[in-house]
Symmetry: C2
Subunit: 157 residues, 2 copies
């Protein structure tokens, strides 16, 4: 997994996201990459990302799968179009819906692996299912429905 | 809304949550209260809680409804049991599943109102539906299935 992450192909004005923007110094800076047909991101929760002491905060897990989902959607749309990521015009996705099933408490102190699978690419919509694992155990299962960013949402200079 | 928030009744060892723990200095410190039969929390996103510039990060919205949902579940369980919040043993809930439909982009720069409605209290499970509004416009609809914290998850001294 040495190649550039999906999110590092986003243009500067779309790189301020708290979850995955490389230009958001306060943010989580999630990085997703292809591993065969699946997408993978690794994340080390910070000590304050706790729920009950010893376990990872569920809202953090929702944030990880949100940005890993939209990143995977973007990469899948470029792949579908036969285009290299980062080429113009950008194919940037936002989340239409997010579902997370928390299967078991996620332990702190281990690197989390977020793994995505593209279920559907149809028009402006991409459906991604994901797992979040800690030490090889799946702790959460998720589904993100991502849609291409509406024109009206583009940042204004 | 001057009375003590749901989360301020949690015992100290359950008050470290990144979303709503009063003892987590880095966290969001979400505060929820009853307003009649509905629960309400207000939250002002910080400038870095951005998605696309000008709009609120969806993972933050998921975090807000997560903790507002479990807080509402706890308050509903105490109410159902005819007990005052904060009395022992604590009725603390965790999230079994979370669903968010993002209806429209949520603008930055306004206070968000998270409003919860208890749909079901059954055994150890409470179902809460929620809306997240900005300037009176509903931007997201959510459903949280909360379950009473498993014994094995309790913090160890």
């Amino acid at each position: 997994m040495s190649e550039k992450a999906f999110q590092d192909h986003y243009p500067d004005d779309l790189s301020h996201c708290y979850g995955c923007g490389r230009l958001n110094d306060e943010g989580l800076q999630i990085k997703s990459r292809w591993e065969g047909d699946e997408s993978v991101a690794l994340f080390e929760p910070r000590p304050y990302h706790t729920a009950i002491p010893g376990y990872v905060y569920g809202g953090l897990i929702a944030s990880l799968v949100d940005c890993h989902g939209t990143g995977t959607a973007s990469a899948a749309a470029y792949r579908e179009a036969g285009r290299d990521m980062g080429t113009e015009p950008p194919l940037r996705f936002v989340t239409a819906s997010l579902h997370v099933d928390y299967l078991k408490p996620t332990p702190m102190g281990v690197t989390l692996e977020i793994r995505g699978k593209v279920e559907e690419v149809k028009g402006r919509k991409v459906v991604v299912t994901e797992t979040v694992s800690a030490g090889g155990q799946v702790c959460a299962r998720c589904k993100v429905v991502a849609v291409q960013m509406p024109e009206g949402m583009a940042p204004k200079d």
